[in-house]
Amino acid sequence: MDIQTLEKYARQVRRDIITMTAAAGAGHPGGSLSSTEAFVALYFDVMNVDPKDDKNPNRDRFVLSKGHSAPGLYGTLCERGFFCREEFDHFRQLHGILQGHPDTKKCPGIDASTGSLGQGISIAVGMALGAKHTGNKCHVYTIIGDGESQEGLVWEASMAAAHYKLDNLTVILDHNGLQIDGTNDEVMSLGDIKAKAMAFGYDVIEVADGNDMKQVVEALHAPACPGKPRYIILNTLKGKGVSFMEGQVGWHGKAPNAEQAAQALKELEG
């Protein structure tokens, strides 16, 4: 798909994120907005998925390890045709399929229930290992957070991914630098995350601007490195696309009010 069309979808997904969180009065816009290019590139250009056949065993798998960025995933799944946009009205509401964090039992297109940080990448490793075991040629993608990378489980999973030579696994780091209590460096420094990923046996690609669709698409299409899991660092901006949210710690888990939502939607027109 051409970059311009993908960018158009990304703008629409960003509007969905604002609409959804504003209507619910809750949710996580910041990290959803920083991951938007990755979501759109995966679902519209990279992954082999079919909304009309969402349980096809040969489909590519996606696990949102940073499960709180659900609004971005929900917007993308909706635009891709997995469910109708009326579901946005029930985001985070009783009996809704769009739970506060992704729920594989309730929502079409969700391959694993996530939200407890560190677990998604580990489940993705299991999927990739299971795919190898069963001869399934699918590829498994997961997006992890930089704050999430403080969880020990991320590194246990990484060790296993390299040990079992899971070249059918792509781990995408949404590196926006912010987490609930402040910057990564204020809360718990990640150090040289690229060197760490390499030391853990990943084939690492760093994307200078993880909110640049062209760069993201190129990285995701880079040929696999035989015998090694892939790790893509996306240097992103938390709250990307909404001026008053960009780079602001406070918009991690806070919904815009009606006035703020109106302004955000205006900025995201076009």
Binding site: Q119, S122, M127, L153, E156
Partner: protein, 305 residues
């Protein structure tokens, strides 16, 4: 009487299951020689995955593998039910993934490794998880049945096994969720789970010598729990005593208590680990220290009848 550790039966059952069902894969965390999965490892090296000393990752990897149509059996020590808990809860039970947990070395009869390794809380942790089936086989034969049943059940299953060699009783009919009457009686009912069956039967012998007729019922399934049988024996015997190698909080005793409350029970007592941790020692000495031998159980029952 022949003796065999239930963990050994678990290992044998996996080998048999592996032959019957090619979807079965076994995961371990560097304990194959202790959890007894090394038999499976040797027989089906391509279906055995060691995840290293990383139990939490093992559970979520199993969760992911189950989504590919496999039936993973995760094996480690029961004490790590706590370490793995978030993964068991959110990674497996919340999405109702088809993962089995065969956790060994449960209870104080683990022995010399001491209190840090003696799981006295795992049944409570597992019972409270929605959708989890909880098996506590009483002997090797029941363990074979539990492993077979686990593979048939669609969803998470926990199997608690023990390190110590314990008596192997004649095979009994096995139905998931059904308790087993081992010995009938009318004055009191002793409900046991796991390897405490041996000691419950010893207690019943001691009581018989004193003219007290004790029924012994063994529960291999703690969830779903056979409330009906518990109520039948409560109505018949009036006096109910539960015996478990687990904390008296959240285990068999509490499952029985909530089943029989208001059902005509007169005396009720939970016999188990009384809200303390274990310690190093020989299994036989530990059972005595924590008052779980047959004569000690009988004494408690006599005092409370």
């Amino acid at each position: 009487m022949e003796k065999k550790a239930i963990r050994v039966a678990y290992g044998e059952a996996l080998v048999k299951l592996g032959e019957e069902n090619e979807k079965v894969v076994v995961l371990d965390a560097d304990l194959a020689g202790a959890t007894m999965t090394n038999g499976f490892k040797k027989t089906y090296p391509d279906r055995f995955y060691d995840l290293g000393i990383a139990e939490a990752n093992m559970v979520d990897v199993a969760a992911g593998m189950s989504t590919m149509g496999l039936i993973p059996f995760c094996s480690t020590f029961a004490v790590f039910a706590g370490r793995n808990y978030d993964q068991i809860r959110n990674g497996v039970c919340y999405p109702k993934f088809n993962v089995k947990f065969g956790f060994s070395h449960a209870g104080i009869t683990l022995g010399e490794d001491g209190g840090s390794h003696q799981a006295i809380e795992d049944i409570a942790l597992m019972r409270v998880l929605p959708g989890m089936t909880v098996f506590v086989p009483a002997d090797a034969n029941e363990c074979y049945e539990c492993v077979e049943a686990a593979a048939r059940i669609e969803g998470p299953v926990y199997i608690r096994t023990s390190r110590l060699a314990t008596p192997v009783y004649d095979p009994r009919p096995f139905t998931v969720g059904k308790g087993v009457l081992i010995r009938d009686g009318s004055d009191c009912a002793i409900f046991s789970c796991g390897i405490m069956l041996e000691h419950a039967l010893d207690a019943a012998d001691v009581l018989a010598e004193k003219g007290i007729s004790a029924a012994v019922v063994s529960f291999h399934t703690l969830k779903p729990f056979d409330e009906e049988l518990a109520c039948v024996y409560t109505a018949k015997c009036k006096n109910v005593f539960t015996v478990e190698e687990h904390s008296v909080i959240g285990g068999l005793g509490d499952a029985v208590a909530s089943a029989i409350i208001g059902k005509g029970v007169e005396k009720f007592m939970k016999i188990g680990i009384n809200d303390v941790f274990g310690q190093s020692g020989k299994p036989a000495d530990l059972l005595k220290e924590y008052e779980l031998t047959g004569p000690q159980i009988a004494e408690k029952i006599l005092k409370n009848l």
